[in-house]
Symmetry: C2
Subunit: 584 residues, 2 copies
């Protein structure tokens, strides 16, 4: 037996017990005077081994030779420490070893394996198996396990069945780019890896499975960013005989449950906001509502005072930064430079300081008097000491810029507390998005999303205004989940394909099996998918989803630890009847 206790469980109550522990050497502390302490670590904690020269000279000499990350098995007796460590649960005791077996030695690790490490990103990714030894990294994965486990337990209780859908499926040219897999048994043909099990879960509804879920890997061959990986995990759900309201209730319940059991937080009922209002008040379809700072429109109040910049523009919008009237020139310049960055693209930033004495100071006070500025402030509900920040331009663009500014100001004011969680539903998304260049409509969500019943006639007359029965769950400005009521009627589905500019042949070729399935009694159904990686990141307060993935890939889609992807044998290519033809 390698151990009968873990390194995290022994207490003073265990005094005088003979125990066996196994673990890694975290640290060897040679105190001098014939005393050496070794911290032995495993997943559960750290226990101190105490080697005293005058108790056992051989063991003491041996212990002085242990290096960091050696693997030891220790037989010894639990005893009370003379100098207790209140920072760790085992801090009252130490082990007096009677026997130590070195199970494995270790080379010096390329970075220190402690909560704070000296290793940079690259080296930690190359030696990810060592990075995973660090507490904060392991804790992220423990959290991930717990969230997945509790999700399953919650849904199972409510009669949801987890059904595995295939990973080797057919390619669908719509949406993001597929990863493909050449088929050796069917030369010249390819499987695709699923971007989501969308079609299969809808087929399961046709099959009468009625409450389906799956925690499942999905794949997208897209250029990567901090919150994107080529493979990611979804909590994928679908229900039959439900309306939008049922789905919102169900998954709001799941989310509250997760916050409660995983983080001990009670989340109130989720507010709901329409897509239109989200854009109007936050300039974003995933507003961070940990703080208010809603947009205020000032166009009408600014008009006619010969300030051409405002007069000639479509939209003038403001936010009120509480208590920021004291901002210095330098701070204001920083904000101006922030919104002028190319990725944000505003032309400039107008401010109004609401001074303590009730007067206003503004970058545009050449054009606007105290009375006008007071009217703006009133509409912004700004008080003395507040700072009003104004952006103008073409409505959609200016709203997006103002949204970025809002988040930046929120961050500067410390309003983006990672321990505070604000959840909401964004509903009533537009069904379609027009690509002006191609002069065609695309599905904003996907082609199976149902329009609002009352908007169906608009599909012919004014498609751009049709609202979808689609919803996103947004937490702290992160879209953690999204879904829709699906079309379950063949004719409406055909109509939808028509609006999307699919020929009958193309629709048949791509989704024929789904449309065929719908001919045999498809029930009304709706669903939702959570991004598990994002959900875990959010729960853990991480900036990147990479940190909650055991073995993530870098921005070039490479796993630098195992060095994949890589070239393969000619023999393998030959079997697949493929030739690599590199462009130069």
């Amino acid at each position: 037996m390698y151990r009968n206790h873990t390194c995290g469980e022994l207490r003073l109550a265990d005094e005088n017990k003979e125990v066996i522990l196994s673990g890694w050497v975290q640290k060897v502390r040679k105190l001098g005077g014939g005393i050496t302490f070794v911290d032995l670590r495993d997943r559960y904690g750290i226990t101190q081994l105490a080697f005293y020269k005058d108790v056992n000279e051989d063991l003491y000499e041996e212990a002085n030779k242990f290096g960091r990350e050696w693997v030891l098995q220790v037989v010894g007796t639990v005893q009370e420490r003379s100098s207790k460590n209140k920072n760790i649960p085992t801090g009252d005791i130490e082990i007096a070893p009677s026997k130590v077996i070195v199970l494995n030695s270790s080379e010096t690790p390329p970075f220190t394996i402690e909560d704070e490490t000296d290793g940079g990103d690259d080296i930690r990714m190359k030696y990810r198996y060592l990075d995973l030894r660090r507490n904060p990294v392991r804790k992220n994965l423990e959290l991930r396990h717990k969230i997945a486990f509790e999700t399953r337990a919650y849904l199972d209780k409510l009669n949801f069945m987890e059904v595995e859908t295939p990973v080797l499926i057919g390619s669908t040219p719509e949406g993001a780019r597929d990863f493909v897999v050449p088929s050796r048994m069917n030369p010249g043909e390819f499987y695709a890896l699923p971007q989501s099990p969308q079609l299969f879960k809808q087929l399961l509804m046709v099959s009468g499975f009625d409450r389906y879920f799956q925690i499942v890997k999905c794949f997208r061959d897209e250029d990567l960013r901090a919150d994107r990986q080529p493979e990611f995990t979804q909590i994928d759900c679908e229900m039959s005989f439900v309306e939008q309201e049922d789905v919102l209730q169900m998954f709001e319940g799941l989310t509250k449950h997760l916050f409660k059991v995983v983080k001990g937080i009670d989340i109130p009922d989720f507010p709901r906001i329409t897509y239109a209002d989200a854009m109007k008040y936050y300039g974003s379809d995933k507003p961070d509502t940990r703080f208010e700072m809603k947009f205020v429109e000032l166009k009408d109040l600014t008009a006619g005072k010969d300030f051409v910049v405002f007069d000639s523009t479509e939209y003038v919008g403001a936010i009120c930064a509480k208590g920021c009237a004291e901002y210095t020139r330098k701070q204001l310049d920083e904000l101006t430079n922030f919104v002028k960055r190319p990725q944000i693209g505003a032309k400039g930033l107008v401010y109004v300081k609401c001074e303590a004495d009730g007067t206003f100071k503004s970058s545009v006070d050449k054009f606007y008097g105290q009375e006008e500025l007071a009217a703006w402030a009133k509409r912004c509900e700004a008080e003395a000491g507040d700072l009003i920040l104004i952006i103008c331009g073409e409505t959609e663009k200016a709203q997006k810029q103002l949204s970025e500014l809002r988040l930046e100001v929120g961050e500067r004011l410390g309003l983006c507390d990672k321990n505070k969680f604000n959840c909401l539903w964004v509903i009533d998304f537009p069904l379609l998005e027009k690509d002006e260049e191609l002069n065609r409509f695309f599905a904003k969500h996907h082609p199976f999303t149902s329009p609002h019943k009352e908007d169906i006639p608009l599909l012919d007359s004014d498609p751009a205004t049709v609202r979808a029965s689609a919803y996103d769950m947004v937490i702290n400005g992160v879209e953690v989940g999204g879904g829709s009521v699906r079309i379950h009627n063949s004719e409406l589905q055909e109509k939808m394909f028509e609006v999307l500019g699919f020929t009958k042949e193309k629709a048949q070729a791509q989704f024929g099996f789904l449309m065929d399935a719908f001919k045999y009694g498809a029930p009304p159904h709706a669903g939702l998918a959570f991004g598990l990686d994002r959900l875990v990141s959010l729960f853990a307060g991480l900036d990147s989803i990479r940190d909650c993935i055991a073995f993530p890939k870098n921005n070039s889609g490479r796993d630098v630890m195992i060095d994949a992807p890589s070239v393969i044998d000619d023999e393998q290519l030959k079997e697949l009847q493929l030739v690599v033809n590199l462009k130069n």
Copy 2:
């Protein structure tokens, strides 16, 4: 609200309740005399809707037009049936509908959607979404969900963490053929889909994760059979600081638990048998122990009586078929023809009938007298009425043939009861397998399997005899799980690669990252993987794993429902810098 009850839950106690149900029309029974019954079905059961002409003529007329598999929403009142159906839980009641909404109509399904269907395999696979509506098919998937769910709950309680390992990994030329995925971002390079997370789970042990599991899709590009699919699911497990005994205890515990909670069966402690004994007594490393019928060696007793066939051969083995002395000429011929089939390949079959009067009748009684035959019978523990069946030949081949015969006879005697479960561990597998043609050794399990400690010196002197710390869990002759203690020592691992004929460069190129990882303090570790598909099939009493997979592929690796794999756009190939080059 589409429903407030399911079609499986209403009872006599609900009499007079107004309810809303939704579901599919299973059957319309027009009784005449103004009465029509409609069976409404959902995942939970069937409820009878009763339409009486004299109660509501319009609804009655409407109901007569309903077709099979239409989707209905029904508002009505629960009432007691006049003619009760004891075969279904809702058989005491019926619904008197006040309102029916047709949610969807249905074309006539291509096969009947009932427990026994008229649809052949091909049509049911093409319309799998309709096949899944059938009770027995859905029940297999419910069982699958339950087994997976209970496995997770059991392992979570014991501190196992589920960790997701990557699906896009590197190709490893050892083992079965990999599916590969061309990388667009790294042209000319390929990911591979994992045949198992073997390397990653061992890295997690190096990381100190100590108790890992994952229910995970794995992939093998092999030619397919009834019990093989290109994608399949494993319950993959690994533990640190354990010996073989710990692993056997742990997963024997899990298996017993699953039998208990899923099937209500108490399984006794699993017997253990060495690989050598399994071959000796059953001619198989996965013996079906629902019945004994062990092999008995007769070589010594048969020698020297001028029967050249036995005298000139290496092995003479017998099984005793209880109570089969009455077998007719025809039945004996059937058995002889069975063992002579090309896939079995025996030259012939010798029998000895133990007659009721104590005499013996044999196909070789020209050579052997009653006394000799009596000695054989004694060793076989055969009694009056039994039939002894004998096969001879080169030991290994003859044992395999006798194994097939044993299973055939067991089947004929009704000893292979699908409701009886016999579990056992097969241990002490050989570490290596020699390919005589290539004159090199292959790892029987995989190259990370640890040899028995006491056999390590034999790696140099007599590699073929080295026993591995490897084990299989066998239930009813099916290998449902297997694993091994791993090598955690770099030198032993290098030695192993040397025996397997890997050059240092090749070992480094393929497994370098694992060997590197082992330099930083690898703990002793061991693991096991269950085939979930096989486990579910076994629990469900299925002949093929295909029946417990929602959307399986056929023997050509095709999903005939979605018609995958398929050709992809030239544009996609161009982006991947690949050319299809079909041989003719």
